[in-house]
Symmetry: C2
Subunit: 502 residues, 2 copies
């Protein structure tokens, strides 16, 4: 079979959406509500502003900004101009930002007021990057507007729309290129899996610079779904949006869901909440059980930057029957679990997760070798480990790169973390590798206790011994007030090791 990358073109989807349902609400933020027609006009204005600022088709434009309406408008304006969006993680240190800008050879850097200081600091080091203030690109300031086009030109599905650097929990960051086709299929496949209704309202409280947040924006325009955008994750505000603003869908990672549940106490969720899309890595089983016990419509998902967000998602209908699973691959995506020799694993047997389909990246920017190492015949080696059950449901075990090989036995940190998190005193746990003279490496853990709970390392080790093979039991257990996570909520095991061991 040929590569599954799709070519061809479709009309500018915001333009078409604005023509189809101009008055439907597109975007709600704390201080703005935009219909699709208004979003379309705002994108036209910013297209004019970007053009006046010297941004041209095909150029790479980095964006360093907090979630805002202007951020959303910029995403669509850059697409309309044919420029490539490179969203930057606002939590990165200046040196890390500089690395990405240089690595990608970005031509422009747009920042909002809150991040412009960082940008000016970087500016000196990167003379070839032109700096722009997001707030000044609305077109009005420059007196420019995009030339009206009688027939909207389209998006070439094979063309790169965004370059998103992967979170860097493993190795040095790489820019995953995602095409218009990748993003389009991600939106369509999500709708085919979760359904689509006129009254869908998807809350984005994840950063838009991560693919999970960005996908909400693009899905909104492609599927005609209202997006409710929060600048940051605030559990009380999320709760209010669910209770009072008709939010039907919300994307979260595990610790957000935990905080949301903790914050609500026993107060039930309204029936208007139809889907809590839970991503960012394997979720602790106790959290899933707590959600199920409270009838939260959790849809656990397995997503990747390299696949434009969701790869497989458990539909809420299967949530109880298949607790802990990430479900089945979405429409268009194929998934295999293979052994080291490339043979397919039997049901229940863990192996490397490979995926192929129309959402899979054509490769990393300027990294032919690293691309070739993970992309073969259209199949992407995800770096994750999992198994399929007899019915074909996916269970993701861990990032392969975090695998701890101890005395020839494999230790999957997520498995150990799940056991620790099932202890009544433990809120969450992180497991990392310690060097070990005898076995090469051995697992160690850091735990965060629940409020008012108490325990000891000895007690937890004994608890693990009862539940795990000896080689999986942490040799050392530390205690901390919080675990290091990236902005997407993904546990940073490398950081854990740096702080706590050896």
């Amino acid at each position: 079979m040929d590569a599954t990358a799709l070519s061809g073109s479709v009309p500018d989807w915001l333009r078409q959406r604005a023509a189809s349902t101009p008055d439907r609400l597109a975007l709600v933020t704390a201080d703005a509500s935009l219909s699709f027609a208004a979003l379309d006009r705002a994108a036209d204005a910013m297209t004019g502003g970007l053009h006046a600022a010297g941004v041209a088709r095909g150029q790479l434009v980095a964006l360093l900004a907090a979630n805002s309406a202007a951020y959303a408008v910029a995403v669509h304006a850059l697409a309309r101009l044919g420029a490539v969006l490179m969203p930057l993680n606002t939590r990165l240190a200046p040196a890390e930002l500089a690395f990405q800008l240089q690595d990608a050879a970005a031509r422009h850097l747009v920042a909002d007021a809150a991040h412009f200081d960082v940008v000016t600091e970087l500016g000196g080091e990167l003379p070839s990057v032109r700096l722009h203030r997001l707030e000044e690109l609305n077109g009005a300031a420059s007196g420019q507007a995009a030339a009206p086009r009688r027939h909207a030109s389209g998006f070439d599905l094979g063309e790169v729309q965004t370059v998103v650097y992967t979170s860097g929990t493993t190795g040095r960051p790489k820019g995953a290129q995602l095409t218009y086709g990748n993003h389009l299929w991600s939106a369509l496949a999500s709708a085919l899996n979760l359904g689509l209704r006129d009254d869908d309202r998807w809350l984005a409280c994840l950063p838009l610079f991560h693919v999970g947040g960005l996908a909400i924006l693009l899905r909104g325009v492609i599927c005609g779904t209202t997006v409710v955008l929060h600048e940051t994750f605030d559990p009380d505000r999320v709760s209010r949006a669910i209770d009072e603003e008709g939010v039907s869908h919300v994307s979260v990672v595990a610790n957000m869901l935990q905080r949301l549940l903790d914050g609500r106490g026993e107060r039930p969720f309204p029936p208007t909440l139809r889907c809590v899309l839970l991503g960012g890595g394997p979720a602790p089983r106790p959290l899933l059980e707590a959600g199920a016990a409270r009838s939260v419509p959790v849809a656990q998902t397995y997503g990747l930057t390299e696949a434009a967000s969701q790869v497989a998602t458990l539909s809420p209908a299967d949530a109880l029957r298949k607790l802990g699973s990430a479900g089945k691959p979405l429409f268009g995506t194929e998934l295999r679990i293979v052994r080291d020799d490339g043979a397919d694993c039997a049901p229940g047997e863990a192996g490397d997760i490979l995926i192929r389909g129309p959402t899979v990246t054509p490769g990393y920017l300027n990294r032919p070798d690293e691309t070739a190492a993970v992309l073969r015949d259209g199949w992407l080696l995800t770096g994750d480990v999992g198994h399929l059950d007899a019915e074909g449901y996916l269970y993701v075990l861990d990032r392969r790169d975090d695998l701890i090989v101890s005395g020839g036995e494999n230790v999957y940190p997520a498995e150990v973390e799940a056991v620790l998190a099932s202890h009544p005193a433990v809120l969450e746990a992180g497991v990392y590798a310690l060097p070990d003279e005898r076995w090469g490496r051995a697992p160690a853990a850091v735990v965060v206790l629940r409020a008012d709970a108490a325990t000891t390392g000895e007690e937890l080790v004994a608890f693990c011994r009862e539940r795990l093979a000896g080689f999986k039991v942490p040799r050392r257990i530390g205690f901390a007030a919080a675990l290091p996570r990236n902005a997407a909520g993904k546990l940073l095991r490398r950081e854990l090791a740096a702080r706590h061991g050896p």
Copy 2:
């Protein structure tokens, strides 16, 4: 912009659907209920049967059969085998069938028991066509089964899946080629417009040999929607399916809807009925008003064989505000209304309807000249006439080929028919052209009266004179018990002229 035809491949969609939601109901007929897993197995068995019968990849296979589970299975089995399906209209005369089989150079002809007599009759005339009985292709009879494939091979979106002859109300029939990509985009765009829920149940009472019926089957598998299949249109049975079997969507043409409304009397439709997709040409306004008065969720659609079914559809939410409109083009489709010189019409100005997008046929089979005449730069000249209102809603006036030019003035039969049908005594009307010594051609009409109603030709002419310009008023009005229509319900004006005039 480049052509919008899409290339690339996706996994076999029935295989993937069966993997995603194996237990969900796929197909309900009078004597069978198949889950997606069962439909998948049945398609595998028939793939084996077709293979054993000598059907090979790339060959054209004509299918002459009534709506049935076996018909649906054959559609998927032929796709799995990589053969091209050519559905035949069961109402055609043998000579018409022979023309299509020869024109397309079909290699195989599959017929069900009810149509096998016709097939044997044809067989003598077409020695190069191999004949098969649909009932004998289930794989069990031949002892064959499709070889199991570990990884389902995919569908190439640019490859032709079906050849559907256009209804032949105008000119000689032509085989519109529709690719996997055309059908896939039709299904996706329909879901984006009408929404998608787990409990969707789409009733197919249109013939599967028309694109509107076929599209229901393919949408079912792509979107995971249950299809309820009736062998023919029976208003009482449709009513029962709506009342008792949870049918949420049903596709009809105008006279089916009229009969459905007549048959139900004042009995309201249940809220589980969410969409009555009304196609088959411009609908009479009185019918739309009657539907609206009874809160029937009618979604008027403008569809074409050459565009894999729906091109534009009015969502039920807009049905009352835009009565008579076919709505906005579906996702991915662009639409223009142009004058004879190719310039775009102003809002409200009637002109030729052009469309472009991923559902548009790559062309007519073996007809490069006729293809080139209607397809330019990806834009399809539909042969239909319509206008857009100021908000961009499409109103389809008529088939351009049926246009009656009288003394240099254009008469659109549908417009005259709508006026006649608004007379209280008239159930429906058909308008055709009479030769006219002075004006070249002039309109004439045949009307069908409502039960117990009475009127005269003079009264109807007077009625029209009050509502239409003089040149649009029929010169002759005949009366009949029924109008000649094809199996899709489309009025056969040519037939009307042959029967009633000059």
